[in-house]
């Protein structure tokens, strides 16, 4: 039995009720349905807003972060008035403002192997709007084990990918990507940046797919991967098939329960700003400031040249991380060196590369030039 709509709801959803593919029955289906949105960031913002507006009866949102000023260039569910607040609370408030007739359940916690099955079990559809490889593999495996569709999308700079992974009817994420890329090859949004409107486009496509699945209409993106590029304004599709060797959904699957995804991917399950090279290899901004007073430390800036226009440390040598391996001969391994980038992630990778090339007197500026701006030189902007 589908739940009836009140007169207020009929008026609110009038533009849906006019479409024969939805109609009263479809709108009642949406009211009876539920979606779990993992992440309330760039992708999660339009997904959660549009699903709320569309009248999906119960929407779960998972995030453990707080709203930061650097989010607002794209995370339109949050606002200047909610800076510093828990993201799930900020999102929940905005969703209920848009549509008070729905239920929003906020999970103010990271999505992990410990809680994922319990959280996701209650929902019809999962929408993957996470920002890192471990959580993507986790979302996929949870969806496979629970037999639910996983509306997938990911973004980078001007590029987006969208698909619906539903192992009962087609391939899963692991059929396409059996293993993650080596750590550091693919920059995250926090490192590489993202066009603000890109998650708006891609997240709206995810919301579309979620609604189609709930309504049972149209051709879902099962078995197809959409590749979008904003600069070319191109939408290309490739065919995806089930991988007979898939370790979670293939006939000989050997992964039957959730695993340690951080270990599997070799990276942490978040796209946090601050990078560290590990104890013993890091130097804090305060320590560096002190050391710079006395001796001739070489400062090596591994950011891209266009970032130098935002902030720079005087006297630093700039070799972008991608060129470092080919330009080691420009560096003197006998000299003490401190490597830095924006927030410490790329420089930690540069340090690994330097150490493996035989450099020993090298340290990583913990938190990067942003931490330096925060703790030592407030005249520099933080970006």
């Amino acid at each position: 039995m589908l739940p009836p709509l009140t007169h207020e709801e009929i008026l609110r959803y009038s533009r849906h009720l006019l479409i024969p593919e939805i109609g009263l029955k479809g709108q009642q289906k949406l009211k009876a349905s539920s979606v779990l949105v993992i992440g309330t960031g760039g992708l999660g913002s339009p997904v959660a807003l549009y699903l709320a507006a569309a009248g999906v009866g119960r929407i779960g949102i998972v995030d453990y972060d707080v709203v930061d000023a650097s989010n607002l260039q794209r995370q339109i569910i949050h606002g200047t008035s909610t800076l510093g607040q828990r993201k799930v609370e900020s999102a929940r408030r905005r969703m209920l403002d848009l549509n008070p007739d729905i239920e929003v359940i906020a999970y103010d916690e990271p999505f992990t192997s410990e809680n994922a099955m319990r959280i996701a079990a209650d929902y019809d559809v999962i929408v993957d709007g996470t920002d890192n490889f471990p959580t993507r593999y986790l979302s996929n495996d949870v969806a496979v084990f629970l037999g639910k569709p996983n509306v997938y999308a990911s973004i980078f700079r001007f590029d987006g990918q969208v698909s619906v992974f539903y192992a009962r009817e087609g391939p899963c994420y692991r059929c396409l990507f059996p293993a993650p890329p080596p750590p550091g090859l693919v920059p995250s949004c926090a490192e590489g940046g993202v066009l603000g409107v890109l998650p708006g486009v891609i997240g709206s496509l995810q919301a579309t797919e979620a609604l189609k699945l709930l309504l049972g209409i149209g051709e879902p993106l099962i078995g197809r991967l959409l590749l979008y590029n904003a600069l070319d304004m191109s939408f290309e599709f490739v065919e995806l098939k089930k991988n007979p060797n898939c370790r979670v959904c293939g006939p000989n699957a050997d992964i039957k329960t959730l695993i340690d995804y951080e270990e599997f991917c070799g990276v942490p399950g978040h796209d946090r700003e601050e990078g560290s090279a590990g104890s013993g290899w890091d130097i804090t901004p305060a320590e560096l400031a002190e050391r710079l007073q006395t001796n001739g430390i070489l400062l090596l800036d591994v950011r891209e040249p266009h970032e130098l226009e935002i902030s720079r440390l005087p006297g630093a040598l700039n070799i972008p991380l991608g060129q470092l391996a080919a330009r080691l001969s420009e560096l003197d391994s006998a000299r003490e060196m401190v490597v830095f980038c924006k927030a410490g992630t790329r420089s930690a990778r540069a340090l690994e590369l330097l150490v493996s090339a035989g450099f020993r007197k090298v340290k990583n500026l913990k938190g990067g030039i942003n931490a330096w701006a925060r703790e030592v030189d407030p005249s520099l902007p933080i970006y």
Partner: protein, 91 residues
């Protein structure tokens, strides 16, 4: 000659070229020609044993080469090989 479409995250290693034309009769030859032309790409696409890394997905005319003849899939003059990267961003 067959063309290889390079995804944005890897263009850093192809002098920002979005498309690279190669002389090749098979997918394997095309990939070898690609990394010969842009050696900086090699460590990202191949592992230490000279095998293509498992996260590297190649699509020939929209079909995964895994569902064709894998690296031995023959290439015709007009073929377009697409390299599809794994990206994780959602923020």
């Amino acid at each position: 000659m067959p063309r290889i479409k390079i995804p944005t995250p890897l263009r850093y290693y192809t002098d920002q070229q979005a498309e690279v034309t190669v002389q090749a009769g098979t997918v394997a030859e095309a990939m070898q020609a690609l990394v010969a032309q842009y050696p900086a790409l090699k460590p990202h696409l191949y592992n230490g044993d000279g095998q293509l890394r498992p996260f590297v997905n190649l699509f020939l005319n929209r079909k995964n080469i895994r569902d064709l003849q894998g690296l031995e899939t023959p290439l015709a003059e007009e073929d377009e090989l697409m390299l599809i990267p794994s990206i994780a961003g959602g923020c």
